[in-house]
Amino acid sequence: MANELAERTTLRSPLGRVRGLGSSQSGVHHWWLMRVTSVALLPLSVWLVFALAGLAGASHAEALAFIGRPFNAVLLLAFLAAAFHHTAYGVQVIIEDYVRAEWGRIGGILAVKGLCVLLWLAASLAVLRIALLRPPAAL
C-alpha cells in the first residue's frame, strides 16, 4: 500500500479514475450520445433525402399530404429530434476546439444550443400542426 501510494503521480483517487467521469464530470456521455444519434440518423437521413427529392416541385396540397401522413410525420419528428441533438453536440465540439476565450466558448455553445432547441421546436410544431389539424379525409 505504501509502495503503491509512492508510485502514484496524481492526486486523483483510484475510485475517481475508475469512475472515469473526468474533469467535465460527465465522462463519455457526450461522446456516446453523438454515436447513438448518428446511428439513429443513418436510416432516417437516407429516408429523408430520397423522400424530399421525390417531393421536388410538389404543390402545397401534396406537401401537406406527405407531411401529414402519420408514418411520415413520426419519422420527420424522430429525424428532427436526432438531427438537432447531433447538430448541437457536434457544433459544441467545433466551438470547444477552435474558440480560445472562455466567454466566447461558453457563450457560443449556449447560443448554438438555444438556436437548435428553438429550430427543433419550430419544425416539430409545424409537423404536428399539419398532422393534427387536418382531418384524414382532407388528405
Binding site: 479514475r17 454515436r35 443513418l42 430520397f50 421525390g54 416541385g57 406537401a63 447538430t87 457544433v91 419544425a123
Partner: protein, 148 residues
Amino acid sequence: MSIMKDSREATMVGHRSDGATVRRPLSPHLQVYDMLQMSSALSISHRITGVIWAIGLVFLVWWLVAAAAGPAAFAAAQWFFSSFLGVVLLLGLTAAAWYHTLNGVRHLAWDVGWGYDIPTMYRTGWAVLIGTAALTVLTWIVLLVAFF
C-alpha cells in the same frame, strides 16, 4: 518520457489518466500534418460537411414551417428552392449530406476498432468519395424525375 529531440514532438505530449506524460499524436496540427493527404483531408471534410448539414437543417425548418403557415409562405419557399441559388444550395447540400453520412459510417467502424490500418483507411476513403458521388447523382435523378 525521454528528452525531446524535435520541436514537433511538443505537439504529441499527452497525459494518461494517472497523470503520467506519454507521446501520443494529438488532433491534426497544421504544422505537423500534410493537410492534402487523404486521411486529414477527409477528416476536416467531415467537420465541414457537418456544418453544411447544420445550415441545411435551417432550410428544412423553413420549408416545414412555410408548409404549416399556408400557401403564400409555401410558394415563397418553393420559389427559392427552384431558383438558381436554391438549386446550387440544394446540390451542395445533397453532396455534403451524403458525404457526412457515409464518412459517419466510417467513423462508427473506427469506433468499434475496425479499419485503422493504412491500406483499409485509403480503401474506405475512396469508397466514401465514390459513394458520395453515386448517391448524389442518384438523389438528383429521383429529384428530376419527380420535378418533370
